[in-house]
């Protein structure tokens, strides 16, 4: 059998994150074009296209990809619309990578464009948006949905409560994570939140679902991003191409809150991380920069621990000691993370890839980790019921 081909990310692009009025199709077209310009490729050279729905709390269109292929004039050998919650676009990257490794296609563009119905507009006109609220409720099984759940917030709140209880983590330790992520976002010109945030402000913000406070939550946002994957042939001329050295996916047999076992543990994260690292030939200690999918401040340290960066219960003090920020042993979420970069969930994995690629190219501006060589991307779906981890490597590293 032929050896599998190497796969690289040759182009990345993202819009500013926030609330947009632009049509998601046009937002998507702009990031697709920018990612191709970034890679120096034309639509005629791209052989695959994968995307996602336009949002969770929005009336979304079906078959987003074929419309984009028509719009950009792409003759594809792979076309796929993915809806796997927060993992959607990393599933897409994973599938695209495998198809390129198999030699079936030479390149693939993954993009997502999200435009939600803004929460304040929903609150002003509940009846007009009731179908969206019902759709949000129907994400959960009958035994969760019956209690009126329309977001995973109460499940996350209970996980954070147990984590704090088991490891005697203080509310200030959790609040500090939000403060640090905001500090990171201050250096990101495209982040949704660019005002300084203090520990007092987080601690004084109201509970949305105790122990989670308002300023410890990520918010649903609009935005778009695109990542262009290529095989060796197309990467040859490009010193800025970043290699996907390892990638793995793992799921637990759960849907939102688990009916069995400890709800503050997420075994799929570690399984995906170990498999991706093994394939890459790197140890976790080699990772210079990581983008981690934490939707709430309290989930961040739990994810760092599940990935293996810290022993159970030790991440909160590591964060406070500066070990996850600029100058620390590993720079985690330099983009500002889900809390401060902003969180258009379908787009989020592509924002994470974009940040790590920019870091490994040395193009991350003020928030650059000096001489970053190895990067890690972690994404999840549902209530971290499934995880995907990718290990990226600077060319020639």
């Amino acid at each position: 059998m032929e050896t599998a081909r190497e796969v690289y990310i040759a182009g990345v692009a993202m819009t500013d994150i926030g609330w947009h009025e632009e049509d998601p199709h046009e937002m998507g077209a702009r990031v697709c074009a920018e990612a191709m310009r970034d890679a120096g490729l034309l639509p005629s050279q791209v052989e695959g296209l994968i995307s996602t729905p336009h949002g969770y709390m929005a009336d979304t269109r079906k078959m987003v990809t074929q419309r984009m292929a028509d719009y950009l004039g792409m003759e594809c050998g792979l076309m796929l619309d993915v809806d796997s919650g927060g993992n959607s676009t990393s599933v897409a990257v994973h599938v695209a990578r495998d198809r390129i490794r198999e030699g079936r296609i030479g390149s693939c563009l993954v993009f997502a464009a999200q435009r939600e119905a803004p929460p304040n507009r929903i609150k002003e006109d509940i009846l007009g948006h009731f179908h969206l609220i019902k759709a949000a409720n129907s994400l959960y099984d009958s035994y969760q949905a019956a209690f009126g759940v329309i977001s995973p917030l109460p499940f996350y709140a209970m996980a954070v409560q147990r984590y704090m209880h088991i490891h005697s983590v203080s509310p200030e330790d959790i609040a500090y994570v939000a403060v640090l992520l905001r500090e990171h976002a201050l250096k990101h010109p495209q982040a949704a939140y660019r005002e300084p945030l203090t520990l007092e402000e987080v601690m004084e913000s109201s509970y949305v679902s105790p122990p989670i406070r308002r300023l410890e939550c990520s918010e649903m946002h609009d935005g778009a991003a695109a990542v262009l994957l290529v095989g060796e042939e197309l990467a040859r001329g490009s010193p800025r191409a970043v290699r996907i050295a390892g990638m793995a996916e793992a799921h637990d047999p759960t849907s939102f809150v688990p009916y069995r076992g400890e709800i503050s543990r997420f075994p799929c994260v570690g399984r995906a991380a170990r498999a991706a690292l093994e394939e890459s030939g790197h140890a976790l200690g080699d990772v210079d920069v990581a983008e981690v999918y934490g939707a709430f401040a309290g989930m961040e340290p739990m994810m760092y621990e599940e990935l293996g960066f810290f022993a159970p219960g030790e991440a909160p003090s590591a964060v406070r000691e500066g070990r996850t920020t600029h100058g620390g042993e590993v720079l985690i979420n330099p983009s500002g993370g889900r809390l401060s970069l902003g969180h258009p969930a379908y787009v989020t994995p592509l924002l994470e890839f974009t940040e790590v690629v920019r870091q490994l190219r040395g193009e991350a501006g003020e928030r650059q980790r000096p001489s970053a060589r190895v990067g890690l991307v972690h994404t999840e779906q549902g209530f971290i019921n499934g995880s995907i981890v990718a290990v990226l490597e600077r060319k020639g590293a």
Binding site: A146, I150, L153, V208, V257, I263
Partner: protein
Amino acid sequence: MQDKAAEEFFALLARGEFRTTRCRGCGETHYPPRVVCPACLGEDMEWVDLPREGTLVAFTQQRDAMRCRRPEVLGLVELEGIGNVFTRIDAPLEDLRIGTRVAFDTWTSPDGVVLHQFRPRS
């Protein structure tokens, strides 16, 4: 509550019964109830009583939700040998502790649906 197992579960609950499915083929008890047994893949089920006492694993309060007129306390109750039940909790948040023993009751929502709730055992 569109699926058949859930329809039966909530219909039983409306009569004050707290039950789930057990596989007649292999004897496995499931929560939530199912029409297919994940242990032996059999489809022959009987309904059996769930324990009416359990241990509070975690709890929180939900503000923005359907079927809520005011913030509701929700929690996860571990039933011995069964697993975790996601449920309404009938007690103020500040009175609750992880590990508290709680007992089953029913609760009728503002829109007339009978659900389960647990409250600390007095």
